[in-house]
């Protein structure tokens, strides 16, 4: 898991750099979300089809999207740089929450045709305000669709804090639709993995939807066009950085002696190579 998190961090950092250099047009950082994404994606395994929002870069890479395929749409080359069907990782959807209904409809369609109907829908806290999210939760509930909703709540809908977006948790809201749910923190990928594995088992065994709300921290702005310093206090940004799940997990595994300097060196070399290939592709 740590390797996936480090790779995602490295690609994310490089894409941010490339955007600063003008080599790509826009980047939406997933820094701070890595434990939530890697833990959940590994927990559900390769079989389900993933309907992402647009910040699930760690999930994408884990599913086999190549870094240049991931970055291509942010460099104006395409609307989707990878093969969605083969990877069962469907295109990013930029209109908030639109993919939630697609995910439920896809699951129903797959079930009607006697095929694998397990679907994972990723969504952010801001997008849960969209009507489509409420409609999708209700539809999934009444159709008993095999859909696992994973809401990464990073506390901010661009500049609107979660406290001003909702007076309840997303997990509570799911229960209002008759969907079982759980709310967890997203710093420890092992904890996320354990909870999402149970959630996936629920979806499979009960043939019913489930929602996992994962509280994460957004280390950077919503996008590279967003200056979060304008609306977020320096203390809050510093607090988000201090809870960085990647450095925390790396330190923990090092402390346990599960990874050593040689391992970090090898993974570091792999990431450097991936970053260099990105530079060559987009800034070459």
């Amino acid at each position: 898991m740590l390797r996936h998190m480090l790779v995602a961090r490295g690609i994310d950092e490089e894409a941010g750099q490339l955007q600063k250099q003008g080599a790509i047009d826009l980047w939406l950082s997933c820094q701070g979300h890595e434990a939530a994404q890697v833990g959940s994606a590994l927990a559900v395994g390769p079989a389900p089809t993933v309907f992402p929002s647009y910040r699930e870069h760690a999930v994408a890479l884990l599913r086999g999207v190549a870094p240049d395929e991931l970055v291509a749409q942010w460099a104006g080359r395409t609307f989707c740089g990878w093969d969605p069907r083969r990877l069962r990782f469907f295109p990013y959807t930029l209109v908030l929450a639109a993919q939630t209904l697609h995910g439920v409809g896809y699951s129903i369609g797959q079930r009607l045709q006697g095929r694998e109907d397990f679907v994972v829908v990723y969504i952010g806290d801001g997008a849960t305000s969209e009507g489509d999210m409420s409609e999708a939760m209700n539809l999934a509930a009444v159709e008993a669709a095999s859909v696992l909703f994973i809401c990464q709540n990073n506390g901010w809908a661009i500049s609107k804090p979660a406290g001003e977006q909702m007076h309840t948790s997303v997990a509570d809201r799911a229960r209002g639709f008759g969907i079982e749910s759980v709310r967890i923190t997203g710093q420890d990928p092992e904890a996320v993995f354990a909870v999402c594995a149970r959630a996936a088992a629920h979806v499979r065994e009960r043939q019913a939807p489930f929602l996992v709300e994962i509280q994460v921290e957004r280390i950077h702005g919503h996008s590279t066009s967003d200056a979060q310093e304008l609306y977020r206090s320096p203390d809050d940004i510093e607090r988000a950085r201090a809870t960085d799940p990647v450095t925390a997990y790396a330190a923990r595994l090092s402390g346990l002696g599960l990874v050593d300097a040689d391992w970090f060196h090898l993974v570091g070399a792999e990431i450097r190579d991936l970053r260099e290939r990105l530079i060559k592709e987009f800034a070459g």
Binding site: F79, P84, A98, Y106, G109, L112
Partner: protein, 326 residues
């Protein structure tokens, strides 16, 4: 004047849907009350009993849910034919149609080609309450990636629906409510359209071309028939407003030299404006006089007591034809 008693539009669409469902196991129907009730206009009557509740699905009362899940179903290989209950209730589904259904093919680099049909009962003259008599086809005609059909006979609806479920991109089909169960309609030239996407010349004439579509096609034919001894009008039923069959229009205008466009949707920035502009660009020298449009002014559809003032009637069409040809 002659009239034909044919199978009604509703009966014809029901038979076409049943036949398509029989032939294509991947097709399903999805909409509010389309199953147990057979739709508020009974267009899907009996289909749930015949094909089962899995394939004739009573949807939630949420239009975005209908189209949004249909997009997902299309991604799974199904061919959903959705029904929106009334034209005026289409708006909650506009986001899913415009930003999603129309763009999925491009977003997937052609790997998914969603055949997805949305049937929408449309138009007035039925004493409908607010929102139940509208004509918003021009809204979708502007959207690249969405085809928009406006059949005015069962025969045309049959050809259009059979084509729509095969093309791998979304089609919105507007079905005139006031024609669903009407059986006496003015006779039409029997020659079929050149193709499933072509307009159809429903009356041959030499003095004036009238381009129209939807329910008002019948009022145009009545007006043309009433004036037959004075003016020999040609009537083109577009059948599709996006993409437009400009070739048929231009060929007709080349024969007659005059063009009148009649539609029930409001005039400003409407389908008629697009036709007038296109004919001006490509056929200006064919014209012997200015292109004219006859369509309701830009205002909300009124309460039922006032709809006769809003709709384009036979008298107005007759007056316009005479004004253009005298």
């Amino acid at each position: 004047m002659s009239a034909s008693r044919s199978t009604s539009l509703a009966v014809s669409i029901n038979a076409t849907l049943a036949d398509l469902m029989e032939q294509r196991p991947e097709m399903l129907l999805l909409g509010e009350d389309v199953g147990r009730l057979g739709g508020v206009f009974r267009v899907t009557r009996g289909l749930r009993d015949r094909f089962g509740a899995d394939r004739v699905r009573d949807s939630l009362l949420a239009e975005s849910t209908i189209v949004g899940q249909a997009v997902g179903m299309a991604m799974s290989g199904l061919v959903p034919v959705c029904e929106i209950q009334f034209d005026g209730f289409t708006y909650p589904a506009v986001n899913q149609l415009v930003t999603q259904a129309s763009r999925i093919g491009d977003r997937w680099n052609g790997q998914v080609r969603p055949s997805l049909v949305v049937r929408i009962p449309t138009g007035g003259g039925i004493r409908g309450v607010e929102h139940h008599s509208e004509s918003n086809e021009a809204l979708f005609a502007r959207v690249p990636g969405i085809s928009v059909a406006c059949p005015s006979t069962g025969e045309d609806a049959d050809q259009i629906l059979r084509y729509a479920v095969t093309i791998g991109s979304p089609v919105v089909v507007y079905e005139p409510i006031r024609l669903y169960w009407r059986r006496n309609t003015p006779a039409r030239d029997p020659q079929p359209a050149r193709s499933a996407t072509a307009a159809r010349i429903v009356r041959r004439g030499a003095d004036l071309t009238i381009v129209t579509y939807g329910a008002v096609t019948n009022e145009v034919l009545e007006a043309a028939g009433a004036l037959a001894t004075e003016v020999d009008a040609e009537v083109v039923d577009l059948r599709w407003v996006a993409p437009l069959d400009l070739e048929t229009i231009l060929e007709s205008v080349a024969r007659t030299g005059r063009l009148l466009i009649v539609h029930e949707g409001s005039r400003d920035v409407g389908i008629g404006a697009e036709i007038a502009a296109s004919v001006a660009e490509r056929g200006f020298d064919l014209l012997r006089g200015p292109v004219r449009r006859l369509a309701p002014e830009r205002r909300p559809y009124p309460p039922a007591d006032f709809e006769k003032d809003y709709l384009i009637g036979v008298e107005q069409i007759t007056a316009e034809i005479l004004g253009m040809t005298k």
